[in-house]
């Protein structure tokens, strides 16, 4: 059965009814990321796509409010018309799961706390969510946060809901921060570095005062799949750093970075459209790691630890990889058989500190391998108690994140 509320009041009634009946609900926006997380057994879907529309947009206040079911594409179009954007650069994982691009909703992006290559400068979805209207698993409507950036009134429940995968409350309206689109963007490419040299080159760039906003490393086979000619034709690994800002500033910083990075390998420069195409590829991943049957892992580690973790994994497991966030975000494509490399990958990540998410794998694999990194007992118990507070009867996306959440 599909429930599709068209206002917050109706939503609260539906959740309250589900609570009374003990009916578990699968909470979806457009459903593009259904393949993320543990498979669930839910007969009823709570579809939020009718809770759509921009309710407030004040460009000079850098704030927008929308229904949670609003398509991200519609939001981004409206922002673009005013020269603004979501600075956390939300990725579109739809195509990773065999869905068309451009379908996901803002609620889905926030509930999964996604962020693209600008994450290291601008923050993740969590850092941009200012206010929420939601219905908890208790069937009660509540609000958190507000519409202003600077707000420390009470607990920051917005952070709690961002990244909670719909397991604590159903968001129906969201208020978030928006920022101006930078006037210019350019990307410097360095060719032929191995992963460790790339990490150190990216650290040098990110540690310089030249305000680098993104840094990624594409090993040769990954670079060869790029749609950007200079990257595809390199015939070697490509390390990319992006800078943004007013024209005169970008020109000067570009020159400085070419000098800094030129010591490490041959360099090239990408201007507007090529630059943005490359970062869109790194953000959405699907094109660069195109084997649709491979299992996909997303690792978050300290940036300098990235290459070492990959090296440790590669000893036991054939894998293709892509580094973003200066080395701190590692995408791995491995064979989707057995545990999809979970034991090897998580051992390497645990040794370095961080977490590994099995972003894509066939259902049977996700049923036996925890898609989200297992937590230490104390933390897991705390998470369970948080779930008890918001959704005591486990009716919202039960089991999506962990068996007992």
């Amino acid at each position: 059965m599909i429930l599709a509320p068209d206002d917050a009041g109706r939503l609260a009634e539906m959740v309250a009814a589900a609570l009374a009946d003990g009916t578990p609900l699968e909470v979806v926006g457009a459903g593009t990321k259904r393949g993320l997380g543990r498979p669930m057994q839910t007969a009823t879907t709570l579809d939020l796509s009718r809770l759509a529309g921009v309710t407030l947009y004040e460009p000079a206040e850098l704030v927008m409010a929308t229904g949670a079911g609003t398509r991200l594409a519609a939001i981004e179009a409206e922002l673009k018309a005013q020269g603004q954007m979501l600075a956390f650069e939300p990725p579109d994982y739809g195509p990773l799961y065999g869905r068309p691009a451009g379908e996901q909703t803002i609620g889905g992006v926030l509930a999964t706390n996604l962020a693209g290559p600008r994450r290291i400068k601008a923050g993740a979805a969590r850092d941009h969510l200012l206010g929420v209207g939601a219905v908890s698993g208790r069937g009660e409507a509540f609000k958190a946060g507000g519409r202003v950036v600077k707000n420390v009134t009470g607990y920051d429940l917005c952070k709690l809901l961002a990244g909670s995968h719909g397991t604590l409350a159903v968001m129906h309206s969201v208020t978030f921060k928006v920022l101006p689109v930078p006037e210019k963007a350019r990307t410097i490419l360095v060719f032929g570095l191995d992963a460790a040299s790339a990490a150190s080159a990216m650290a040098a760039a990110l540690g310089s005062p030249h305000e680098v906003v993104s840094a990624a490393h594409l090993p040769a086979p990954v670079a060869a799949r790029s749609a950007v000619d200079f990257v595809r034709a390199a015939g070697a690994a490509v390390t990319a750093v992006r800078i943004e800002g007013p024209e005169p500033s970008v020109a000067v910083r570009c020159a400085a970075l070419r000098e800094l990075l030129g010591l490490r390998g041959p360099v090239e420069e990408l201007h507007s459209s090529r630059s943005s195409r490359l970062w869109a590829e790194v953000r959405d991943v699907a094109r660069l790691l195109p084997d649709a049957d491979a299992a996909l892992w997303r690792l978050s580690v300290a940036p300098m630890a990235g290459p070492g973790v990959v090296e440790a994994i590669a000893r036991d497991l054939p894998a293709e990889c892509l580094f973003d966030w200066g080395g701190g975000l590692v995408w791995l494509a491995v064979a989707a058989t057995g545990d999809a490399g979970a034991a090897v990958i998580r051992r390497a990540v645990d040794a370095a500190g961080g977490h590994a998410t099995l972003v894509r794998a066939p259902e049977p694999v996700r049923a036996v391998v925890a898609p989200f990194h297992p937590q230490p007992d104390g933390l897991a118990a705390l998470a369970r108690r948080v779930k008890d507070g918001f959704d005591p009867r486990r009716i919202l996306n039960p089991g999506r994140m962990a068996p007992d959440l």
Partner: protein
């Protein structure tokens, strides 16, 4: 302000509590009144209370043992950093242990390549920037108390500062924490990597005002220092025009490092105090600071100057040297003590409003000045809408403190009414506790308190702060099902 009634049984067990703490932290317990006096209040000095006893642990294991003991014996605990809170967040309780974190004062690791530093919670905010300055790095959030306030306190309060519009608050600049919960469990949230999975409890702990756990280690993001910074000092005949200038700057796609506004009373007080060269014949003064690569700063300075002229500025200076830039800031940074010179006491408020409501809020505040017979000087983080009205009063005149507090409450209610919030960076503490109902419904607050119950089911950590009513967790956990009875009535419920 009413605090929870001290528990007589706990007061009667004081000797037992003191000796238990002495066993856990030998040489780190203060139980004599004269020794505890320095802890009796924080930055909100209108409220004072001697704690039951003060304990100053040095290790995470000691913190865990203290909390475990207090939890087992149902004794309340108030954590404290440097005690600079302006909302009474560290106000002691007569029947509570004051847990001072001052001895956790070491920088544990500086990791330049991963752009982070691991520090103990008692390290001061400025101390972090100083520890990484030789590498050309700094820690971005800069609350005005930064020479004294500790990073542990910053985590508790989610502290801001003048640069948050561009660089974010504490919550956007902390990568990980180690906390100890009231049951003595040591929990690590985040680390040197980004966006830990699972519920974002790091995001929840930051700004939780010491009610969820005691922070014993913090991993902060450090940033390369901007190559240069320059400022504009712009005077306007009306606050509306200054507000227009702020809006137009942002609408032009410029996010300055800092954007501060002062009103006439604050300008005059500051000028009389530090002689910063502020114009006296303007109603509003803006300081706009651009930081970053020199080419960018020079370019944007000219654009902001043009915007300011277009908005009707009557005075405009651009800093041509670092000394001049610092002089522009000198008055703003001295604004609080400057106001202290023109009034025996002042009461600092901290609401945030949508920026375009500023003219309305200022004019309503003028009306309230007449109504309460008290003056207000305004200092304003204009970029992000965070107001700091300073209400001038004289505590020696009977009734004035109460009038100032009532005035302050009205200002905060006004902030909420125009779409803003009660506190932008100072926290709720005891100060704004009873105003929470102006912003949140009972249901909203119950959801926040259920989070508290997950961390501290007995409500022993910093009770009496933030929430106007102390609900029992059992009562908050009860399920209320409308439109029907719960099926399976025999199932255990929370």
């Amino acid at each position: 302000m009413l605090m929870p009634e001290p528990d007589r049984a706990t007061l009667a067990r004081r000797d037992e509590i003191v000796s238990a703490l002495r066993e856990i932290v030998p040489g780190g317990v203060i139980d004599r009144a004269e020794g505890m006096r320095v802890y009796e209040s924080d930055g909100l000095t209108a409220y004072r209370q001697l704690p039951l006893v003060v304990v100053l642990p040095e290790t995470t294991a000691q913190v865990a043992a203290v909390l475990r003991w207090c939890n087992a014996h149902a004794v309340k605990v108030v954590p404290r950093g440097a005690g600079t809170s302006l909302s009474g967040g560290a106000l002691p309780l007569a029947d509570g242990v004051l847990l001072g974190m001052a001895r956790f004062n070491r920088v544990l690791a500086i990791d330049q390549d991963n752009r982070c530093a691991v520090v103990q919670p008692g390290v001061t905010n400025l101390g972090i920037s100083q520890a990484v300055a030789h590498l050309g790095f700094y820690y971005a959030p800069d609350p005005s108390s930064q020479i004294a306030c500790t990073i542990g306190g910053n985590v508790a309060e989610n502290s801001g500062g003048v640069h948050c519009l561009k660089y974010g608050l504490t919550t956007n600049n902390v990568l990980g924490v180690e906390i100890v919960t009231i049951d003595g469990e040591v929990i690590r949230l985040g680390g040197r990597h980004l966006d830990a999975e699972g519920y974002d409890l790091l995001g929840v702990v930051i700004g939780s005002e010491g009610l969820l756990g005691v922070v014993t280690e913090v991993t902060v993001r450090i940033l390369p220092k901007p190559a240069t910074a320059r400022a504009l000092l712009i005077g306007f005949p009306t606050s509306e025009q200054a507000g227009d200038c702020v809006a137009a700057t942002i609408a032009a796609g410029i996010i300055p490092g800092g954007m501060e506004m002062m009103d006439r009373l604050a300008i005059h007080a500051a000028e009389d105090f530090v002689h910063a060269g502020y114009p006296r014949d303007v109603e509003a003064l803006l300081i706009v600071e651009l930081d970053g690569p020199a080419a960018e700063v020079d370019h944007l300075i000219d654009r902001v100057a043009a915007i300011a002229r277009g908005c009707g500025s009557v005075t405009l200076r651009i800093s041509e040297s670092e000394a001049e830039r610092l002089a522009f800031w000198a008055g703003r940074k001295a604004a609080f003590p400057a106001v202290g010179r023109i009034s025996p006491d002042y009461y600092c408020m901290d609401g945030t409003i949508p920026r375009h409501r500023l003219p309305l809020v200022l004019s309503r505040m003028r009306e309230m000045e007449g109504q309460y017979g008290l003056r207000v000087a305004n200092v304003f983080h204009a970029g992000d809408g965070n107001l700091h009205p300073l209400i001038l009063y004289d505590a020696n005149r009977p009734g004035e403190l109460e009038r100032a507090e009532a005035f302050g409450s009205d200002i905060l209610r006004l902030c909420v009414e125009v779409g803003g919030v009660l506190t932008g960076e100072h926290g709720v503490g005891v100060e704004k506790r009873d105003l929470m109902g102006a912003m949140f419904s009972e249901v909203d607050l119950a959801h926040q308190q259920r989070l508290k119950c997950a961390f501290d089911p007995q409500g022993l950590l910093n009770p009496g702060k933030v929430f106007p009513t102390l609900h029992r967790c059992a009562e908050l956990g009860r399920l209320h099902v409308s439109g029907g009875k719960l099926p399976f009535p025999d199932l255990p419920r929370f």
